[in-house]
């Protein structure tokens, strides 16, 4: 069993006796204990987070991470605080991803797909490629809830999208 320094409440593992795996943080190789999350593995490697770390419990959306595995053409997306490292994993965090966001007054708009069209015309160009669902780190059926909006079924859309943690942030005139 490994020795652990617990002086700061969070378990922090030391190298002795741990089975290590290699991960590539933005292309640079680090040896980290297997079974760590990406977040703790990067801290183990010596990174200190300013961006890309939030609740550390899978609900705030700060730590979206894109990764690939050796010999696999897929691009994977997960939360760094929830995803366990794998040997040979290449990863980069996406602490900010610019998103289009409309301004609205809830009292003044109806529950009509037309209103959504005015705010987000791009949704109506959907060809059902399902890439949105595949990149969602919360496993939300994004394509299905977008479809529900287009069909005017806002209740269904709300239910399907309820676990959304808004891991992308708007870029409107908002920040100081």
């Amino acid at each position: 069993m490994s020795t652990t320094d617990t002086t700061k409440g969070e378990s922090k593992e030391t190298t002795s006796g741990k089975e290590l795996v290699s991960i590539f943080v933005m292309g640079k190789k680090y040896e980290v204990p297997k079974n760590l999350t990406i977040m703790k593995a990067m801290e183990y490697a010596g990174y200190k987070y300013i961006r890309g770390c939030g609740c550390r419990g899978g609900i705030c959306g700060a730590c979206g991470t894109v990764y690939r595995k050796p010999g696999d053409y897929h691009i994977y997306v997960g939360l760094a605080c929830q995803t366990v490292v794998e040997d040979g994993m290449y990863l980069t965090q996406l602490p900010f991803f610019p998103a289009n966001r409309a301004t609205y007054n809830l009292e003044a708009i109806g529950s009509d797909p037309e209103e959504v069209y005015k705010k987000y015309p791009e949704l109506f160009r959907c060809v059902a490629c399902n890439a949105c669902t595949k990149v969602c780190p919360m496993d939300i059926s994004v394509m299905d809830y977008i479809s529900a909006i287009k069909q005017g079924d806002f209740e269904k859309a709300t239910e399907l999208s309820f676990d959304c943690i808004q891991c992308i942030f708007p870029f409107e005139n908002y920040g100081g």
């Binding site: 059902a128 669902t133 394509m143 299905d144 479809s147 069909q151």
Partner: protein, 294 residues
């Protein structure tokens, strides 16, 4: 009888007056139209570019949902959705190379090989229920109403997915007669309504609409019936533009066939959402006393 049903986005929003009476009418005929639990846009228009497989993903996904339901038949009421779904289905059935590409791209879905049969609601009425049975169920015969059936394009073109041969078309005629009304066949019945031209090129669109209306009126029609929300938009909602342009044109109410069927089956105006129609629809039905007789 239960059957998988694809309503389409427009029927769930602007054309609820096609969806609701259709579901109610079929229910009255002992058929439950079961809406697919997960469906997306059909793709709206079938892409004619040979290498444009991306636009086939949407309709094929919908067909996969049918298989997931353990079903092999899908009823569609909207002519445009029918056309897009049926053509995508045919391509998946017949073109092995494109089928492979599409199935590979949609790796998160099960493979699809065109197992589903896509059926338009009009064909379903004739083939699965039968005119005789419908006739027995008619409670408010639409006696004396002269109806011009408007097919437009997507029910009849291309031939590979046509619900019947254009030159021997009888579906609308048989339905109208079954409901007790009078058929007014007219030459422009299978003309194009101008489709999306009405938005990009409104002058041409309104001229096209005017010609169709004029043709129907000159043959004595009191109403037009259609099965396509886009045709209904052009002939119905944009009719006032045509009337403004051409003095000799008269107002001609336009209906979805599902509305007339629901009325004839005695389900009343409640299921018909007439508020979404245009051009004196309610006035005409009242004058014929079809709304009160149930």
């Amino acid at each position: 009888m239960k059957i998988s049903y694809y309503p389409g986005c427009t029927l769930k929003t602007k054309a609820k007056n096609m969806d609701c009476p259709g579901v109610a009418a079929l229910n009255a005929l002992g058929v439950e139209l079961v809406e697919l639990p997960r469906w997306n846009c059909c793709g709206a228009v079938f892409s004619l570019a040979d290498d444009d497989l991306l636009h086939l993903l949407a309709p094929v996904r919908d067909l996969i949902r049918v298989v997931e339901q353990g079903d092999n038949k899908l009823v569609v009421a909207c002519s445009m959705c029918y056309n897009t779904l049926a053509r995508a289905n045919l391509l998946m059935r017949e073109n092995s190379e494109k089928r492979h590409t599409i199935n590979t791209f949609m790796e998160e879905e099960r493979d699809y090989n065109g197992e589903v049969e896509v059926v338009h609601l009009l064909s379903f009425l004739r083939d699965e229920i039968g005119w005789e049975k419908i006739k027995e169920s008619i409670k408010v015969p639409l006696r004396g109403l002269k109806i011009a059936p408007y097919y437009g394009c997507t029910l009849l073109r291309p031939q590979s997915v046509a619900i019947e041969p254009p030159e021997k078309r009888t579906l609308f005629k048989d339905l109208i007669e079954t409901m007790g009304a009078t058929v007014v066949d007219f030459p422009a019945s299978t003309d194009c309504c101008s489709s999306y031209q009405i938005l990009s090129n409104p002058d041409i669109g309104i001229e096209t609409v005017s010609k169709i209306l004029e043709s129907a009126e000159s043959w004595g029609a009191e109403a037009i019936v259609t099965s396509c929300p886009l045709c209904e938009y052009n002939l119905g909602k944009r009719q006032e533009d045509a009337l403004r342009k051409h003095d000799k044109l008269k107002e001609l109410p336009t209906f979805y066939f599902t509305q007339l069927l629901a009325l004839a089956l005695g389900l009343g105006a409640e299921v018909c959402n007439f508020e979404l129609n245009h051009n004196g629809v309610v006035r005409l039905m009242e004058s014929k006393k079809f709304l009160t007789a149930a």
